[in-house]
């Protein structure tokens, strides 16, 4: 009897592993920068090209860095929600305009609204490399001391915002007080 059960057991084990594999997204990579200082950048702003923006400007507060681009379809999906999140005033959202053209980016913000306090310009993707960006949208939560605490890959839909982003932001704000 036992020897007939062995293939069944092997099959079940294999099926369980494969089923777990199906629920995992291979495109979702864990960032190695979590709990490490956010890479320093100092680049022009999107709307005011003569002004610079640096990660040092945000020191002392919890902030989000949202990687976006006008060519990115999923970013459009998340955009109306970003505007809502920005309106709620829970956490300041800064943009990183990734591998884009200034006129395209500005046109997108004109059309859809601008949720960002300011967008840093990264037309050649160099800042993106420092952050380990491998697509858009991506969102980083950076704490008062300039340390990356969380990274979300993909559009921040309301469920993600409520279940993943807000708790981290609130916890960081509490710790900072």
């Amino acid at each position: 009897m036992l020897r007939y059960l062995i293939p069944l057991v092997i099959f079940i084990v294999l099926a369980v592993f494969l089923a777990i594999g199906l629920t995992r997204d291979p495109h979702e990579l864990k960032s190695v920068l979590i709990n490490k200082p956010a890479p320093a950048f100092r680049v022009p702003q999107l709307k005011a090209a003569d002004k610079m923006i640096s990660n040092e400007d945000m020191r002392g507060k919890v902030w989000l860095l949202n990687v976006w681009a006008s060519w990115c379809v999923a970013c459009r999906e998340e955009h109306p929600y970003l505007i809502e999140y920005a309106k709620s005033g829970v956490v300041p959202i800064y943009g990183l305009n990734y591998k884009d053209r200034r006129e395209d980016a500005l046109a997108t913000l004109d059309e859809l609204g601008d949720p960002y306090i300011a967008s840093a310009v990264d037309f050649d993707g160099r800042v993106g490399i420092d952050f380990g960006v491998y697509g858009a949208p991506e969102t980083y939560i950076i704490d008062q001391g300039g340390t990356i605490r969380f990274k979300y890959v993909g559009p921040m839909m309301p469920d993600v915002w409520k279940e993943k982003i807000l708790p981290v932001v609130q916890e960081l704000n509490r710790q900072g007080k």
């Binding site: 997204d25 999906e77 591998k99 160099r126 469920d159």
Partner: protein, 219 residues
């Protein structure tokens, strides 16, 4: 056209749960371009080749619909900005880049190496590697630079460490245990089929059996 597919998909999946939706969006995020210069606005010539006089009404309708489709997509369709890749004028750097980028993974098209991938990110990373090599960084330093940002996943050949022991040595363990089981099985079978002289007990039983057969004489 990739766009329209994605958008269409989102529409048809509208009724599914929020979780499914966001998951789908995620998969729509990291698209792998087929050419090094993706431009999704390339549908316009198709419209221009259609003309009412030569092809008649049905085709005109089709063309109009197509044009409408293209126009409705066009405002969203913007190509990712990609600087042209300039090979280094130093052949040594170019050769080093060639061999190194074969060991690195493109994060966008994960089953391609940095050398093969036409994705924008791969081109950016190749450009960055050229810059670093020109600045005199060794291959090891370049790899350290990349793994600090993208993690070990960027290495096509995973490092040998405790989390990858199973990956590296698992196949050998399987092979050895398979061989062991095979020999064990063969040995067992050989024991079963080799001829051995009957023991006294067995001989007596055989004789009894033979004796019980009708019309046969025992020897």
């Amino acid at each position: 056209m990739k766009m329209s597919k994605l958008r269409g998909m989102n529409k048809s999946e509208m009724n599914k749960s929020e979780m499914n939706k966001s998951e789908m969006n995620k998969s729509g995020r990291g698209a792998c371009p087929r050419s090094s210069n993706p431009s999704y606005g390339g549908g316009k010539p198709l419209f221009l080749t259609c003309s009412f006089q030569t092809w008649g009404k049905p085709l005109f309708l089709t063309c109009s619909l197509l044009a409408l489709l293209i126009c409705s997509i066009a405002p969203f369709v913007k190509a990712q900005v990609q600087e042209e890749e300039v090979p280094s004028d130093d052949p040594v750097i170019e050769a080093r880049l060639q061999s190194l980028s074969k060991e690195l993974r493109c994060l966008q098209c994960q089953n391609q190496t940095l050398a093969d991938s036409p994705a924008g990110l791969a081109a950016d990373l190749r450009r960055e590697i050229r810059v670093q090599m020109k600045a005199g960084k060794s291959d090891k330093e370049v790899i350290a630079f990349l793994t600090q940002r993208y993690g070990d996943f960027i290495l096509y050949k995973p490092r040998v460490m405790y989390t990858t022991y199973l990956l590296w040595f698992g196949p050998f363990v399987l092979l050895i245990s398979g061989l062991y089981l095979l020999f064990h099985y063969i040995k067992q079978r050989r024991d079963l089929i080799t001829e051995k002289p009957l023991s006294a007990d067995e001989r007596r039983r055989a004789e009894e059996l033979l004796a019980s057969l009708p019309g046969k004489e025992t020897t």
